[in-house]
């Protein structure tokens, strides 16, 4: 009886050690929900800055957010709580949108060439994302073409 209990304890410990080893080194991907909440709050704050006409600080924030979302969407899919969307898919959409907003702010600042570069990047790299539709619309407007 006692030997059987010891066997189960050792087995559970072995499973825990194996699981931790499979996850790799500790980084933010071990707490995807908390990181996403921080990123989304920063994203909403940047959109609010753009809505307030403060395009320069908004562009700076969108640039950093685009890098972070892109890093996140390149990581492995980590299932969150039951029923929640895949964080990798959400990170991809947010990355596309951050790049789009970066181009939008540059367009409002009068930097049409840089804005067109960001719009094209959204269309090329995130063609299926909702931001790609807006990017095509803004790019057509910049180039003087009728919108799609």
């Amino acid at each position: 009886m006692r030997a059987e209990r010891l066997f189960w304890v050792l087995g559970l410990m072995a499973l825990a050690v194996a699981g931790c080893a499979a996850r790799g080194p500790y980084d933010h991907r071990f707490r995807p929900g908390a990181v996403r909440r921080d990123l989304d709050a920063g994203f909403d704050e940047a959109v609010a800055l753009a809505a307030d006409g403060r395009y320069d600080p908004a562009a700076e924030r969108f640039g950093r957010l685009a890098e972070m979302y892109e890093y996140e969407q390149q990581s492995e899919a980590v299932p969150d709580a039951a029923g929640q969307p895949d964080t990798r898919a959400l990170g991809r959409g947010r990355a596309a949108e951050a790049v789009f907003w970066l181009g939008y702010c540059r367009e409002k600042q009068g930097l049409a060439d840089e804005a067109a570069k960001h719009y094209r990047r959204v269309i090329d790299e995130y063609g299926g994302a909702p931001a790609a539709r807006q990017a095509r619309l803004r790019l057509a407007h910049l180039e003087g073409r009728p919108g799609p």
Partner: protein
Amino acid sequence: MNEKDDNRNQAGEPLESLLRRWGAEEAAREGRPGDMPEPAAPPAPRRSVRPASWAARWLPLAAGIVLGVSGLLGLLAARGLRSQTSAEVEGLRGDRDTAVRELQQVRTDLADAEQRRVRRQSEYESELAALRGRLMTEITESENAAARREAALSALIAEQKVLVASMTGNLAEARRNLSGAEEALRASRTAMERLREGHAADVSRLEAAVDDAATARRRAEEHLARLQSLYEAMLPVMQQAYTAGGELRRELVMSSASHLAARQSAARRHRLLERAAAVREGLRDEASGQLVDTIEVVLTRLDMLDARSASEAAGFAHIIARADLLDRIAKALRAGQEPPDVRAWLFEAQLLLMGVDHAS
């Protein structure tokens, strides 16, 4: 002999000659005996003797006695007079010595005065020369200044002539204007009199008009309040119709789970973002331009957000609330300063975004 000696001689000559003459007379007087009585007249030639009376006999004797007595008296008197004269001479000599000393003192004073006069004269001459030099300089400067003043005066006179000519023209013009103004004033007074005459009637008419306007304003305010109530009651219905594509699908709009999707569909269907550029071209106010920019950002975010995500819905509502967007839209619509197509676009945005904060 110089001029100074001449002056001294001229000053002292009368006194000196007087003293010399007096000295000579005294010397002459001392050298001769005192004045003797005049010698008796030579006896008259004896008249022919005739038997004379005792008078003729004794009369010459008496005369001789008288003459002898008188001569004796005269001699005595001369002796007294001589001693008195000697004393007087001594006194006069003392006076003469005194006068001589005074004369010498006077001469000394005259010499000093002459030296002072000569020195003062030389000083005066030098001062006079300096004064003459300064005077000549001042005269030259005065002449130069006078020449300059003359030139300036000539220029000023020429300028004044031009100015006077101009002023004369202006004065004539001003007089004409004045006469015209007086004429206009008379006409205005006449018109004013006529206006005063009609003023009382106008005041009564205006008071009646003001009363009518107040009544009309009160009725209009009541009508506006009714319209505002009706508008507020119609807004949700219009919003439902707008977001549901004309079909009153209340459950689609009011569902908190899918209201964002309905708003997304409505915005795309009515092409709000595509119309933003044309709306911006018709703006008349800078504040309205900032409002359109904010609405464009919000609509862009609405188009791209994941309607299924509760966190994105909350963030979207936060953006709208932070920008105070609905109040700004309502204020711009109430102002009514923008063209009709701009107001229609703003109204559509209001319908689209109304209730987002509550629904989230």
